[in-house]
Symmetry: C2
Subunit: 385 residues, 2 copies
DNA sequence: TCCCGTTTGTTCATGTTGTCAAGTAAATGA
DNA sequence: TCATTTACTTGACAACATGAACAAACGGGA
């Protein structure tokens, strides 16, 4: 983190592991008294006085003076991270567009913007990224930039290994961006970035293991085990799209029968209803509305989608045993229309010695992917610099 | 670890985290020079002189004086753990028998024994356990006892939460044994214990993430992610037995169609072939021999079993992304008869953006389960005491 | 053969980092 | 008012690891 935290411009603070963990604890678990942080991190109270002092002097921690619940003894003096002291830009790349947000330390979105991607030439994409970063730098300097995309990439490595949608392989994107904008830049897989948001600022807070399942144009799965975000071999995340639901169902685009993505992704659901009814103009949300109204074809397709999703979640829970599964993604709202089929399938496919895993549905904002990229940058800066 | 390591009886050595990590590094990664350990653990060379000295003086580490590969510079002086300095007993409980081994620090089996379990009354089982521990204590005192069983139990907790096969729930078995034999005792799930063996002394050495899949009377899955053995919610491990292979195949004992265990466990394979041919006397190994000889029915059943297993492994790999999958269990030798079907299915169900995970087949000795329990005890003693 | 470079391992002074003990501060409750 | 409880601070101290300097043990030239 080097010069990131500095008391004065001439006296940079060196961060120890203990300082880092205190800062992260306060960032993630909100205002806490020194005594409480000491208990959580198994440190002595005196250690906390010393560990927090430089942060307070530099303005990164504030004494929140908000009174806790009235109790005997001296009232505690909660500390809070001043979220405005750092800013991050997160960028999500898709095949035809680029979404970007500027967030503060608490991952609150402060600005957002986007650009079309006319093609996937590196120069063009890089130009658009630089433009967006410059636009979002106007209110003040950035601490880090995060870029997320579907494909294999990790914060540990400045290179995009493969990205089928963008047609890239072995592209040192982080290096190129970092040189162009002079801000530390990290890459990550989009689903893992979204999982990072849940881990620090969402439903995953307080859980040492949970899974995130996304529903949208595809299916995705991110996993946190033992408080650590899992990075699969070569940077892949949970590849659940082609998990087989049965062996004779609809065919996915790669020729498998009964893949989960042939049942539960929004394009598959829309197409299935639209072709059965020969009404090609129907949108995905039209289909959801029809199912909610009890239209038999839409109802059947969404029941199957919910069942497929329930089976996917049960399979993940059986293998990894998370405390919680968070459902998210552009199409999570379909849950409202197929919750019953989902939970029936979840219970049916959960191993009989377990109770079904707790499932939380997280409404999805369109800029959530870009926010994920910002959190990736934030985590990387705070933990690994 | 308190009094475990002692230079003299009156001068017990207090262990720091650094000492622990050095000792474990040497135990798991074999003879290494101080300089090499220093590099691996990111410590200074001088730290290693100090950290190893008490172990050497107490006789837990030996200067192996074996010359490494001839190279420039001063030859290194490899250090090695004296495996004989500690002994462990591991006990595997099944529905009708108890297997036990005595091992040294390197998990080498030095003695083994067993007892029938006439019933599952706690007093009877406890009596047999105590008898076995006393028999295995004859050559010298024990450092710890580990007990493994199918069900939900973890080293962190002295209580068996549930064990369907033994009909137990909420039984404080570790406490009872510990009081009876006066040796620290830990429990664990049997599959996780077996995974621990692979992690420290088997194919998992050198891999920060891998999965163990067992084939036998059931199917099991243990997972190591980020160098940590995963403990699912409530102490369960990978519950892959009822993973659905298709929706119309043979029915498992819980009424599901096409469960993995209806295809790939040894009883299911044997029964399928024996009933089809109306030859109830056939053993599982008879069935394997028939398939190897090309008998059409046996061939088909084993191809289906291999395919099911391949799909299970692919699913695990897709979700958790391990570097390696180790196949083991009482019936792994069936792999020889269905390797082709296995790898075809593995490739078919592996997500198209990945290459199939590397699979290693680990021959299984009948006392391997008990050895796992011993390793659980060893790990717990070395890491958490 | 004799130095030189290289790597290993040790010793000792130094410095960082967190704990302990003691004391101060700020509330509640009798 | 004063004891009790909890929070926080301060300074002495102990633990642990590092860095520098050095000894040891080898191979490889000149």
């Amino acid at each position: 983190m080097g010069p990131v935290f500095s008391q004065t411009s001439s006296d940079p603070v060196r961060l120890t592991d203990a300082m880092r963990s205190v800062f992260v604890e306060l960032l993630v678990h909100g205002p806490l008294s020194r005594a409480e942080v000491a208990r959580r991190l198994a440190l002595s109270p005196s250690a906390l006085t010393k560990l927090t002092k430089p942060f307070i002097e530099a303005g990164y921690l504030l004494e929140a003076s908000g009174e806790g619940p009235a109790t005997v003894g001296r009232p505690s003096q909660p500390l809070q991270v001043d979220a405005s002291r750092m800013s991050f830009v997160g960028i999500k790349l898709t095949a035809d567009e680029l979404f970007a947000v500027r967030t503060d330390l608490s991952a609150t979105v402060r600005m957002e913007t986007s650009r079309p991607l006319a093609d996937h030439e590196i120069d063009h994409v890089l130009g658009q990224i630089v433009e967006v970063v410059e636009e979002l730098t106007v209110p003040g300097p950035l601490s880090a930039v995060g870029i997320s995309l579907a494909g294999t990439a990790t914060p540990a490595d400045p290179v995009v290994h493969t990205s089928p949608f963008l047609g890239w392989s072995q592209l040192p994107l982080a290096t190129l961006v970092e040189e162009a904008v002079s801000v530390p830049t990290v890459l990550d897989n989009d689903v893992r970035a979204l999982t990072a948001v849940q881990q620090w600022f969402g439903e995953g807070v307080g859980h040492s293991s949970f899974a995130l399942v996304t529903v949208g144009a595809g299916l995705g799965c991110g996993l946190v085990v033992g408080d650590r975000l899992v990075t699969g071999q070569s940077g892949a995340t949970g590849l659940i799209g082609h998990l087989q639901i049965d062996d004779r169902g609809p065919m996915c685009e790669r020729g498998h029968h009964g893949c989960a993505r042939a049942y539960a992704t929004s394009p598959a659901i829309r197409r299935s209803i639209a072709t059965t009814l020969d009404r090609p103009e129907l949108t995905f949300d039209d289909c959801l509305a029809m199912a909610a109204d009890g239209h038999p074809v839409a109802r059947r397709v969404l029941d199957e989608a919910g069942a497929a999703l329930g089976q996917v979640v049960a399979t993940i829970a059986n293998i990894a045993g998370p405390e919680l599964v968070v459902l998210s993604g552009e199409s999570v709202h379909m849950y409202d229309v197929c919750a019953e089929a989902f939970h029936t399938a979840l219970a049916r496919h959960t191993h009989w010695t377990s109770t079904p895993v707790r499932v939380v549905v997280k409404p999805f904002a369109f800029n959530e992917w870009a926010r994920g990229a910002a959190v990736t940058a934030l985590q990387h800066l705070l933990l690994h610099r």
